[in-house]
Symmetry: none
Subunit: 238 residues, 2 copies
């Protein structure tokens, strides 16, 4: 056996099944809790690793795995000889804010579209100025796939990727992440086949206008095309 490159042939569970909780995972949660409870803000420093390991009843190794993860998530930053510092509110928190919302379903959807109508036209305008040819190709690819895909769910995912790719083309990672979260919040809206057909047609026309504007590097046209697109979709959905 060559050790690696082994296709796990049969009943491979791609989805992490029941998933035993690792030590470091609970520690990550505990540290997050600690930060919140102690109201630790940017610049404050965490108790020493040895002390935390003792407090949480885990080895320093496990604790450090948690630190690494939090560091990778941008929550902490380590400084040898000094300590582990709290970083500025992570982008993750901003993103999380989009996840919540308790309100009624239509209210929630309305709010979301309002946000999209504020944000996406501007993103599109910026993308018109910033996009590389490679990024433009990616955007075009997604738009094409949307048109040729039969499966409705798959089509919705591709449509989201289209919008995300435009956000990515701005070169602003924050905008990309925010848009991704917005898309996650957009629940798959069930509808009748005829409604879908109509929506798809309207949507595809919108995509073409947007791509044309992006190709022309015409930021004003791009802004307007996206504004119209979102507005049309909203009318269809709500």
């Amino acid at each position: 056996m060559k050790t690696h490159k082994t296709k796990s042939s049969n009943s491979n569970n791609a989805a992490p099944n029941t998933h035993t909780v690792r030590a470091y995972e609970s520690v990550v949660a505990k540290i997050r809790l600690l930060i919140e409870e102690e109201k630790l803000g940017p610049g404050d420093l965490l108790p020493p690793e040895r002390q935390l390991a003792d407090r949480f009843k885990v080895s320093r190794h496990s604790l450090r795995e948690a630190i690494r993860v939090l560091q990778e998530q941008g929550v902490l930053s380590a400084k040898q000889g000094s300590g582990n510092y709290i970083q500025a509110a992570s982008q993750a928190d901003l993103i999380r804010a989009l996840g919540f919302t308790s309100k009624g379903s239509t209210r929630r959807l309305f709010d979301l579209f309002q946000l999209r109508e504020m944000l996406e036209p501007q993103i599109c305008a910026l993308a018109a100025e910033m996009a590389t040819t490679e990024q433009l190709n990616t955007i075009r690819d997604f738009a094409e796939k949307v048109e040729t895909t039969e499966d409705f769910q798959e089509g919705q995912k591709l449509d989201q990727s289209f919008h995300e790719a435009i956000a990515a083309a701005t070169g602003n990672e924050l905008l990309y992440n925010v848009l991704r979260e917005i898309n996650k919040s957009m629940l798959p809206t069930a509808s009748t086949p005829t409604e879908r057909q109509r929506r798809d047609r309207v949507s595809n026309e919108g995509h073409r206008r947007i791509i044309a504007a992006l190709e022309a590097q015409d930021s004003e046209a791009a802004r307007e095309a996206m504004r119209l697109h979102i507005s049309e979709i909203r009318s269809e959905v709500i």
Copy 2:
């Protein structure tokens, strides 16, 4: 010694300076390289940890830190007793791969301001149409307090409250939450007293223009006033 909650008072380098390369970081890079070179795809499995640690000449601990990070990034998934498997790349990764560079502290701030410049003028325009007299009073209150407050930190908080109150006046809870998170992400920017004075003056003039537009229920004027305000602040800060 209170162990934590210690503001690193003076020469705090918020920007991770030269940054000595940790062992695990280079290992992360090496594993990524390994995956590419060996053309490992989703479902394939990595060589055992002990073997990799030996190959890369690092302790198993350091190697495992790298594994954790890659796991957190969604590149790997570990299965006890079996091995570390390569995860399927999501199309999000594809899009992401097309851009995004540094991550430097200034870049982050720039991204944030870009988002604010996209969002807040529109929020302000909407608020001009939607705000009740009571909400207007709240907004005015915060603006006044900003002008009369001596303490710098307190002033910054009040300024944030001013912006949040405007978002609240839109009646869109989502917008309010997003703006709150954006504000949390804005680092307290240290600066000299003269800089502060100048910034405060510019800021207060902006607030007055914004309030005037809101009172007049002139959404276009409100949009423009906020656009100018954010733009001015950005120039001062960056």
